[in-house]
Every structure is written in structure tokens, then in C-alpha cells.
């Protein structure tokens, strides 16, 4: 190792005049914490802080049509308009919550079940793991198009299958009452694998001993799962809910790909994200959409905060 050229040695022997390069490298080493972290933080900061501040500003104006058009400061009027809007805003809040809530429950329950199936090694494990990986990496827009064909009322595979057992054809995505449920199903198909992977990692890192001890004491598999495994897994379950929940609240791709603008002609699948996108880019109502977005952001932060608190309580 060429210790003599190392800037470190220059620093150790101040008698020797350090070169400019050494000086820079000494400076870099002393300040490496921020030298390393600052560029990434600056990048994210510029791309977040400025737009967020702007969104906040727009939400207090009557901006519409073009962002460049002269706008007037109207205080909290947009928020009042939005919060008293029972036709689009509150139903969108409801759909966002329904979508996220039902999808999360299904994904965690199914995910836990599948993770338990996969927990102990078995022959053919490799193939099951491949099957789990594929939906996870598939492009959501393409997945949306795939389901559109499969759930098509006339030519779709699902109705063909139901027809075989004598169940009449369902409208699925094109039904006013069934569309949201169908999109939840798509979300469950695509993202249960992610929950499986996270929970499986958690299960694998569990120590065998508590389970073993309970077995010695004569506990059956159900008792061992509910009294030993599940409590130990709670922190991991909450991490899975947190990671999946953030993305589920913000779901956009499959909703827009399957139902298009405004979440369908009756706004069947219009969640907050789809609503805000439509206000911004289909109707150019920047002031209103900014107010919706600020409220949406507060909902997300609130949900995360609740879950993080819950996780802290569980981890103790």
C-alpha cells in the first residue's frame, strides 16, 4: 500500500507542505458526511420543496386554465369548496379508503397464508417463487390492459369460467357497483406477492425456540400461530402494511388504465389521486386540485404516523 502518497500521512506530518490535491482530499475527508449526503438531498429537496410550496400557494388561489394566467389570492376558499363537495371529493375519499382498506386486509391475510405455506422448504419451491415474482414486476398499465380483456363482460375469461358453473355473466369493470371491487382484485393479484416476500423474510428470521417450546407444551398449530408466531411477526406485518399502504393510497396506474379519465363515466373508481390528476391535467383547475392534493397529502402523512406509532407500541 502506497502509504507515502496518502493524504492521511500528509495530515500526520504537518512539517511536509501538502499539495493542493492533498488539501482538497483532507477537506473532503473531514466533510465527507455532507459531501456524500448533500447532492442527493439537494436533488430531492429542489424537486420536492419548491413544488410543494408552489402547490400550497396554488391551493390558495383561483388558478385555472393556464398556470401562467393571472391568479387571485382567495384564501381558504378552495378548501371550503373541496370540503363541502359531496359529489366528487368525499366519494373520492371514501373510495380511496375502501380501496386501500380492503386491498390491504386481503393482501395481508392472503400474504400471511402464502408465506406460511412457503415457510418450510419443499420440492418445487423454486417454481412457486418464480410465480410469486412475476406479478410483482409486471408493468401496472399492462396488467390493467390484461385484466380488461379477462374481465370483459362478453369475451372475458372470468365470465366464461362462471358460465361453465352456471353463474350469469357479471359486468365487472363496466358495472357501476362492481368496478371498484374489480380493481381491488387486480391490486390484490399484483401486490400480495410483495407482502408474501416481506412476511416470509420476517418468518425466516424468527428464532425456532419459542415455537419449539410451545410445541413441547402441547400447543397445536393454530395455538402456536396465534399465540407465538403472529405476535412475534407483528412488527414485520406493520412494516408490510406501511409500505403497501402508502402505495395503495396513491394507486393510479391500473385505475387510469382500466377506467380512464375521471375513474369512469360515473366516477366509479375515482380515488383522490385520480381525482387530483383529472383536476390538474384534464380540467386545468390548478387551484382546486392543489387543495385536494394538500388534503390528500395530509391523509397519507396521518395514516403513516398512526401506523408508525402502532409499530413502536408493538415492538416494545
Amino acid at each position: 500500500m502506497s502509504v507515502t502518497t496518502s493524504p492521511r500521512s500528509a495530515a500526520r506530518n504537518p512539517s511536509r507542505a501538502p499539495g493542493a490535491r492533498d488539501k482538497f482530499s483532507d477537506w473532503a475527508n473531514v466533510h465527507r458526511k455532507w459531501l456524500f449526503a448533500a447532492p442527493a438531498m439537494a436533488f430531492v429537496g429542489v424537486l420536492i420543496v419548491f413544488p410543494l410550496a408552489w402547490t400550497l400557494y396554488l391551493s390558495l388561489t383561483d388558478s385555472q386554465g393556464s398556470v401562467r394566467a393571472a391568479t387571485e389570492f382567495i384564501g381558504l376558499e378552495n378548501y371550503l369548496t373541496v370540503l363541502s363537495d359531496v359529489e366528487r371529493f368525499w366519494p373520492a375519499v371514501g373510495r380511496t379508503m375502501t380501496f386501500t382498506g380492503i386491498a390491504l386486509v386481503c393482501e395481508v391475510v392472503l400474504g400471511m397464508g402464502i408465506a406460511l405455506l412457503l415457510w418450510r422448504p419443499f420440492r418445487g419451491e423454486k417454481w412457486v417463487r418464480v410465480a410469486i415474482l412475476l406479478p410483482l414486476v409486471a408493468t401496472p398499465v399492462a396488467v390493467g390492459m390484461m385484466w380488461r380483456l379477462i374481465f370483459d363482460p362478453n369475451i372475458g375469461f372470468v365470465n366464461q369460467l362462471l358460465g361453465m358453473v352456471g353463474i350469469p355473466a357479471q359486468p365487472w369493470l363496466s358495472g357501476q357497483d362492481t368496478a371498484l371491487g374489480t380493481t381491488i382484485f387486480m391490486d390484490v393479484w399484483q401486490w400480495t406477492p410483495m407482502v408474501v416476500l416481506i412476511l416470509l423474510a420476517g418468518l425466516t428470521s424468527l428464532s425456532d425456540e419459542p415455537d419449539e417450546a410451545a410445541r413441547m407444551d402441547g400447543a397445536n398449530s393454530f395455538q402456536r400461530f396465534f399465540y407465538i408466531t403472529l405476535p412475534l411477526m407483528m412488527p414485520t406485518v406493520i412494516v408490510a402494511i406501511l409500505l403497501r399502504g402508502i402505495d395503495a393510497l396513491k394507486t393510479f396506474d391500473i385505475l387510469y388504465a382500466t377506467k380512464g379519465k375521471g375513474g369512469g363515466s360515473f366516477h366509479e373508481v375515482e380515488t383522490l389521486n385520480v381525482y387530483a390528476y383529472g383536476l390538474s391535467f384534464d380540467y386545468n383547475q390548478y387551484g382546486l386540485s392543489s387543495a385536494v392534493l394538500i388534503l390528500f397529502f395530509m391523509i397519507i402523512i396521518g395514516t403513516m404516523w398512526l401506523l408508525t406509532m402502532r409499530k413502536k407500541a408493538v415492538s416494545k
Binding site: A37, L47, L58, V130, M145, F281
Partner: protein, 293 residues
């Protein structure tokens, strides 16, 4: 068979299993487990198989329920999609944007994750991770305004920047949990041997982190490849990526199902092939940080 399972002896006679513990239950459980696993695999794979089959059918066959499973495959849909609809351009666009945004995000993100891990900069990490939480639409309006004033909308730069915004938090998150798990002693002894802290990072830590960087890079590539909303607003006719191209497919009056399924397959297949070869990395990336309390 020359390969012996652990429960067989050289004579081929099954021996009483020398398991550490009893298997998870009875024979009934085993049957149930196999059945459940088969059901899970079918549930996950059947839709993809349906999409793949439809992409090889003519539109007449797609409408004919008698030809659901048995049909004469045709490559016509792919020929249409690839030639007439310029999909090679979109494939290139998607690849280029994903590749450049991943590479740049690694350059910015890996040192940042290192500093945040070693100096436990939790609050700074939170700033970067905020990017994962914020709804993309709230950023798009200001971005669109600024970038269109700079005449950048429709160029690759702005798409790459927006995808870096997705990639960077992901990379920082994965790499932080990777660096957290690397022992400090290696760097410390390298510094005792005369390396500067940055030298130790470059010559010791980075080479040891190749697996972590592969994980972060592959996931970031996939996320960028799959990204729809940013490209929907910020891409132009020359920079259109695959997800936007498929979305445009349905805005015509009647849906060309065969073509649409071929297009959907063209988007999905490359990413699935990458995923099959890098399975280990994807799994470790998806579960990064999930199990450390």
C-alpha cells in the same frame, strides 16, 4: 438416480427421517399444502398466460369463446405492433430512460446512503424518503410549468430527472439498510492501515457492496420501466415510453385486443426476464429493512 435425498441411504431404502423436528403436521396437512400451493401458482400465473395466449390470437379468435384454449397461433399482432406502431422506438426510450436514471441515481444515492448509515442521519434520510410518500400529482403541476418554460418537456432530460426522483429514494432506502448490515471493523482496520475514510469507502466498502448496489439498481430499473404517471405528462412524441404507448392504444374507437395484448406482452416480457435472472436481488431489495424491528 444417483442423487440421494437426505432421507435415503445408498441402498435406496427410505430411512426413518432424521429430521430435527416433526413435520408441520399430518398427511392431511401435506395434501392441503400441495393443493393450496398449486392454487396460488395458478391464481398468479393464469392471467399472464391468458394475456400471452391472446397476443397470439387473431381478433376473430379472441371473440370466439370456443377457441379459448385451442387455437392456431399467429404472429401477426406482434408484427403489427412492432412495425406499424413503432414499438422499437418506445422500447428504446423506456430502456434509455430507465438506464440513465438508474445510473445517475446510483451515483447520487450510494454515497448519500453511506453517509446516512454511518453518521445515523435519520432526519436527512427522512427528507429523501419523503419523495416516496408524496403524491406524484402534486409535483407534476409545478414541474410541468417550470420544465415547459425551459422548453424541456418532451425531452429525455426531464423524463430522466422525474424517474430519478422515483429511483433515488428507493436506492437510498435499500443501500442504507445494506450499509447498516456491513461491519464497521473492515473500514476501521483499513483506516488503521493508512487509508483515508473516503479511500476506505472506495476501496473496501464499495467493492463489498456490489450485491447491494445490484439489488438497488435492478429494482430502480424496474420501477422506472414501469412508471406511467410521470411519463404520461412529461414525455413527448419522441420520448414516449412503453406504458404510455400502451395506454394510447385504447384511445381509438374499438379495441384491437390482439394488438393490445401483444403490446402488453412486449412491455412485460423484458422486465420479467430480467427478474427471473436476478430473482435473489429483487427479493432482498423488496424486503430490505423490513425485518429489523
Amino acid at each position: 438416480m444417483t442423487v440421494l435425498t437426505p432421507h435415503q441411504t445408498a441402498t435406496g431404502q427410505p430411512q426413518p427421517a432424521r429430521r430435527r423436528r416433526k413435520p408441520l403436521g399430518t398427511r392431511a396437512y401435506k395434501v392441503f399444502r400441495v393443493a393450496a400451493l398449486v392454487a396460488v401458482v395458478l391464481f398468479l400465473i393464469a392471467p399472464l398466460a391468458w394475456m400471452l395466449m391472446a397476443s397470439f390470437k387473431t381478433n376473430v379468435d379472441i371473440y370466439d369463446t370456443a377457441k379459448s384454449i385451442i387455437f392456431t397461433p399467429t404472429g401477426e399482432n406482434y408484427a403489427n405492433v412492432l412495425q406499424r406502431n413503432n414499438y422499437f422506438v418506445f422500447i428504446f426510450n423506456s430502456f434509455w430512460v430507465a438506464f440513465v436514471s438508474t445510473a445517475l441515481s446510483l451515483v447520487l444515492g450510494v454515497p448519500a446512503a453511506y453517509a446516512m448509515s454511518r453518521f445515523t442521519m435519520h432526519r436527512s434520510a427522512l427528507v429523501v424518503l419523503m419523495a416516496r410518500v408524496i403524491p406524484g400529482v402534486s409535483l407534476l403541476v409545478p414541474w410541468y410549468y417550470v420544465f415547459s418554460n425551459l422548453k424541456m418537456v418532451g425531452g429525455f432530460e426531464v423524463l430522466i430527472l422525474s424517474h430519478m426522483f422515483v429511483a433515488l429514494p428507493l436506492i437510498v432506502y435499500i443501500m442504507m439498510s445494506y450499509f447498516d448490515s456491513l461491519p464497521l471493523e473492515l473500514e476501521e482496520s483499513a483506516q488503521v492501515d493508512g487509508l483515508t475514510p473516503i479511500g476506505a469507502f472506495r476501496r473496501i466498502t464499495l467493492p463489498l457492496s456490489v450485491a447491494g448496489m445490484a439489488t438497488a439498481g435492478i429494482l430502480s430499473f424496474i420501477f422506472s420501466w414501469n412508471n406511467f404517471m410521470f411519463a404520461l405528462v412529461l414525455s413527448g412524441s419522441k420520448t414516449k415510453t412503453l406504458p404510455v404507448a400502451i395506454f394510447d392504444f385504447v384511445s381509438y374507437a374499438s379495441i384491437d385486443w390482439g394488438g393490445l395484448m401483444a403490446a402488453a406482452t412486449v412491455v412485460t416480457i423484458p422486465i420479467m426476464i430480467i427478474a427471473l435472472f436476478t430473482q435473489k436481488y429483487i427479493v432482498s431489495g423488496m424486503t430490505a429493512g423490513a425485518t429489523k424491528g
